[in-house]
C-alpha cells in the first residue's frame, strides 16, 4: 500500500505526458485526484505512525553488490510529517494552479511535471535506502529544472533552470561521494540502520570517517536547501510559474536538505554539526539582509526562504532536529501561502516589482488578509504557527549559548522587517497608476486553497507537542523578547519601508549607503562566481578544446604527416639508389650496344666483307691447325 503514495502521482504523470494534450482542461483534475488520494492514504497511516511504528516495503534492485541492494519505502514519524506536507500542500497548490495557469498553452504539461515532482518528492521522503534517496533527490532536481524553465521562451527562465540544476548538482556530488564513502567503509546504505553505522564507527574509533561522510551529505543539503555558498540558484528560480515557487522552492523541495540532515542526524558528529550551525546561521542573516533590499516580490520571498532554511539548519546544528522539522512544517504552510498570495497579486496586476505596486489592499481584500496572516505567522506573532516553531528553535539556542539566541532574535527582527516591508508596500500606501484597469481578486479556485493554507499557517503550531515532541506551553521571557523583535521589525518596516524616513544619523550615512548597496547587489556573490569560477571554467574548456585540437590531434596528424614524409624519403631512396642500380645496369648494356651497333651499318657490302674476311680467317686458322 505504501507504494501507492508515490505511485499515484507517478501514474498521473504517465497519463498526462502521454494523453495530456487530449485531456485538455481535465488533465489538471487527474493530477489533483492522484495527489488527493495520496494525501488520503497518508492520513490513513496517521494512527500507526503516531504509535511509533515503522512501515516498510522493499524490492531487490541490484545483486551485483554484496550484500544485494533492496530499495524500498518506509514511513516513520519523520517521513510521515513530510508526506503530509507534500500531499496536502501539493494538492492545494495544484488546485490553485488550475486558476493560475488557465491560459497557458502547455497546461497539461505543467500538471504532468507537477505530478512527477510530487512522486519524486514522496519517494525521496519515503526512501529507506541511500541510493533510492539519491535517485529521488536528483529527480526532484530535474522537476525543479523543468518547472523553472517551464516558460522556456524567456531566455532568463532557461538560464535560471540550468543554473538551478547545475548549482544543486555541485552539492549532489558531495552527497554522492558521501554515499560512496559510506558504502565502502560501513558496507551499509540502509537508512533504517544509521544508528548501527554510527556504533560501527564509534567502536572502531573512526569517528573522523563519520565527520567526513556527514559533511559530504550536508554538502548535498547545502545545494538543495540553497545555503551559502550554493544559494545563488534559488532567487533566479523565481522565473518559474508562481505555484512552482510556492510548492517546490518554498514548501517542499528546498526543505529536502533540512529533511536529509534531520534523517541522517545519527551520522553527524559535533564537528560536522558545528559546520551545519555556522552555515545555517550565516545563511539566515545574510539572506535576511538581502531580502530587505530586494524590490521584486518573488525575490524578497526567495531570500526569505533561504533565510528561514538557514534558521532550520541552525536548529539542526544545535542538534534540535524536532524543532527544525517543526519550523519546516509551519514554514511550509506560511511560505507557500505567501507565494500564492504574491502569485495572486501578480495574476491580478501582471506586475511583480514593488516600485510599481501599492495600495492593492482595497482591490484584493482576500489576498491581503491571507498575506497578512502568513506574514504575522512568519514574523512570530504570538499563538500563530510560526511563533511556536521559532520559539522552539530560540529555546534550543538559549540552552546552547545566549549570544546565539540574541543573534537569532536579531534575525527575527530582520524577518519581520522585510516581510512587512513587502506587505505594506504592496497593499498599503498610495496606489501606483497601472495601465491595465482595476485589479480584481483572484477566482475561487485560487482563493480557496489559499484559505485552507491560511488555516494551516495560523494553527499548525498547535500540532507541535503532539507530533514533534517539542516543548509545549509558553515561555514568557521568550514570548516577550520575540514579540519585541517582531514589533521592532514592523515599526522599522513602516517607517523606512513605507514612509521612506531616513533614520540613520548623518555621520553614518555614507557607510549605510555602502552597506545597502552591498546587500542590494546580493553581496556580489553571483558576480564573484561568474568571475572566479564560471569564467575560468569556460576558459579552461576552451583551452582544453584547443589543446585537444592542436596538441593531441596535432600529434596524430604530425604522426600521419611523418609517415607521409618517410614515405616520400623512401620513395626518393628508391628512385635514386635502387632504381639507380637497375638503371645503371641497363645503361651499361645500352652503351655496349651503342658501340656494337656501329658495326650494324645496314650496308650489305660491309656484312659481306665481314663474311668473306671471316671465311678467309677461318681457312687460315684451319690450315694453321692442320699443319
Amino acid at each position: 500500500m505504501l507504494a501507492w503514495i508515490p505511485g499515484l502521482p507517478l501514474a498521473a504523470f504517465a497519463v498526462l505526458i502521454l494523453v495530456g494534450r487530449r485531456l485538455g482542461r481535465a488533465s489538471a483534475w487527474v493530477s489533483v485526484a492522484a495527489l488527493a488520494s495520496s494525501a488520503f492514504l497518508t492520513l490513513q497511516l496517521t494512527p500507526h505512525v503516531l504509535d511509533g511504528q515503522r512501515l516498510a516495503v522493499s524490492w531487490r534492485w541490484l545483486s551485483a553488490t554484496d550484500p544485494a541492494w533492496f530499495l524500498g519505502l518506509a514511513v516513520d514519524r519523520l517521513s510521515w510529517v513530510m508526506l503530509v506536507l507534500v500531499t496536502v500542500i501539493g494538492t492545494l497548490i495544484t488546485i490553485y494552479s488550475i486558476g493560475y495557469m488557465q491560459d497557458d498553452a502547455r497546461f497539461s504539461r505543467f500538471f504532468a511535471y507537477l505530478s512527477l515532482f510530487c512522486a519524486a518528492m514522496l519517494g525521496l521522503v519515503m526512501a529507506n535506502h541511500f541510493v533510492l534517496l539519491y535517485a529521488c533527490w536528483e529527480l526532484v532536481g530535474l522537476c525543479s529544472y523543468l518547472l523553472i524553465s517551464f516558460w522556456f521562451e524567456k531566455p532568463e527562465a532557461a538560464r535560471a533552470g540550468r543554473k538551478a540544476f547545475l548549482t544543486t548538482r555541485v552539492g549532489d556530488t558531495g552527497l554522492l561521494i558521501g554515499i560512496l564513502a559510506l558504502w565502502v567503509t560501513a558496507g551499509q546504505l540502509h537508512l533504517g540502520r544509521l544508528e548501527e553505522i554510527r556504533t560501527f564507527f564509534v567502536l572502531r574509533d573512526q569517528t573522523w570517517w563519520l565527520t567526513i561522510i556527514s559533511t559530504l551529505i550536508f554538502l548535498g543539503a547545502v545545494g538543495k536547501s540553497a545555503q551559502i555558498p550554493l544559494h545563488v540558484w534559488l532567487p533566479d528560480a523565481m522565473e518559474g510559474p508562481t505555484p512552482v515557487s510556492a510548492l517546490i522552492h518554498a514548501a517542499t523541495m528546498v526543505a529536502a536538505g533540512v529533511y536529509l540532515v534531520a534523517r541522517t542526524l545519527p551520522l553527524f558528529t559535533p564537528e560536522s554539526l558545528r559546520l551545519v550551525l555556522w552555515i545555517g546561521l550565516a545563511t539566515h542573516l545574510f539572506a535576511g539582509t538581502v531580502a530587505l533590499t530586494m524590490t521584486d516580490i518573488k525575490r524578497v520571498l526567495a531570500y526569505s526562504t533561504i533565510s528561514q532554511l538557514g534558521l532550520m539548519m541552525t536548529a539542526l546544528g544545535l542538534g534540535a532536529a524536532s524543532s527544525a522539522m517543526f519550523h519546516l512544517s509551519t514554514h511550509a504552510f506560511f511560505k507557500a501561502l505567501l507565494f500564492m498570495a504574491a502569485g495572486s497579486v501578480i495574476h491580478a496586476t501582471h506586475r511583480q516589482d514593488l516600485r510599481e505596486l501599492g495600495g492593492l489592499g482595497r482591490h484584493l481584500p482576500w489576498t491581503r488578509a491571507l498575506f497578512l496572516i502568513a506574514a504575522l505567522s512568519m514574523g512570530g506573532f504570538p499563538l500563530l504557527s510560526g511563533f511556536w516553531s521559532k520559539d522552539a528553535i530560540l529555546l534550543s539556542a538559549r540552552e546552547h549559548a545566549p549570544w546565539l539566541m540574541w543573534t537569532l532574535l536579531g534575525g527575527a527582527a530582520v524577518t519581520a522587517g522585510y516581510i512587512f516591508r513587502l506587505y505594506l508596500r504592496c497593499f498599503h500606501g498610495s496606489p501606483v497608476a497601472s495601465g491595465c484597469g482595476t485589479p480584481h481578486d483572484s477566482p475561487a479556485v485560487m482563493i480557496l486553497p489559499m484559505a485552507a493554507l491560511g488555516l494551516g499557517a495560523a494553527f499548525a503550531g498547535f500540532a507541535g507537542p503532539g507530533v514533534f515532541h517539542v516543548h509545549g506551553g509558553l515561555d514568557v521571557p521568550m514570548l516577550i523578547s520575540s514579540s519585541v523583535a517582531l514589533s521592532i521589525g514592523v515599526t522599522l518596516a513602516f517607517a523606512v519601508g513605507l514612509k521612506r524616513r531616513v533614520l540613520v544619523p548623518a555621520v553614518l550615512r555614507p557607510l549605510g549607503t555602502k552597506l545597502y548597496r552591498l546587500a542590494a547587489n546580493k553581496y556580489y556573490v553571483d558576480e564573484a562566481y561568474q568571475r572566479w569560477i564560471i569564467g575560468p571554467f569556460l576558459d579552461a574548456t576552451a583551452w582544453l578544446s584547443r589543446f585537444d585540437r592542436r596538441i593531441i590531434d596535432g600529434a596524430v596528424d604530425a604522426a600521419g604527416l611523418g609517415g607521409w614524409r618517410i614515405g616520400q624519403w623512401k620513395e626518393r631512396f628508391d628512385r635514386v639508389v635502387i632504381d639507380g642500380i637497375v638503371n645503371g645496369i641497363a645503361l651499361v648494356t645500352r652503351s655496349i650496344g651503342h658501340v656494337v651497333r656501329r658495326a650494324q651499318t645496314g650496308v650489305i657490302h660491309h656484312y659481306l666483307f665481314w663474311v668473306v674476311a671471316a671465311s678467309v680467317m677461318l681457312m687460315l686458322w684451319i690450315r694453321a691447325v692442320s699443319a
Binding site: 656494337v596 651497333r597 651499318t601 645496314g602 659481306l608
Partner: protein, 99 residues
C-alpha cells in the same frame, strides 16, 4: 695427286663472285655474283664426285641449281620490294638493317 685443271676454274669463279659481291652496288649484280659462287660450288661437287665415285656429287649439283633458282626468285622479289619502298636497287644506299 695433281689438281684437276677445272678446280682452277671453280676457284676463279669464287674469286670473281666474291669480288662481285664486294664491289657491285646494284643488288641485281650482287645476286648475279652469288650465282657465280653457287656455280663454283656446283662445279666442285661434280669434280669431287667424279673423283670419289658415285652420283652423290652430281645429285648435289642438281640440288644446288634448283636451290639457286629458288634463291634467285626470292632475291628478285626482295629487290622488287626494296625498290618499292626505297626507290632504289643500289645496295649501299639502303640500310634498313642498321641497328
Amino acid at each position: 695427286m695433281a689438281p684437276h685443271p677445272l678446280l682452277f676454274t671453280s676457284c676463279a669463279l669464287v674469286a670473281l663472285g666474291v669480288y662481285g659481291i664486294l664491289t657491285r652496288r646494284n643488288a641485281i649484280g650482287i645476286l648475279l655474283a652469288i650465282e657465280l659462287i653457287l656455280n663454283a660450288a656446283s662445279l666442285n661437287f661434280i669434280l669431287f664426285g667424279r673423283w670419289v665415285g658415285g652420283v652423290d656429287g652430281q645429285a648435289f649439283a642438281i640440288f644446288v641449281i634448283a636451290l639457286a633458282a629458288c634463291e634467285a626468285a626470292v632475291g628478285l622479289a626482295i629487290i622488287m620490294g626494296l625498290y618499292r619502298t626505297a626507290k632504289t636497287v643500289l645496295a649501299d644506299e639502303v640500310n634498313l638493317l642498321k641497328g
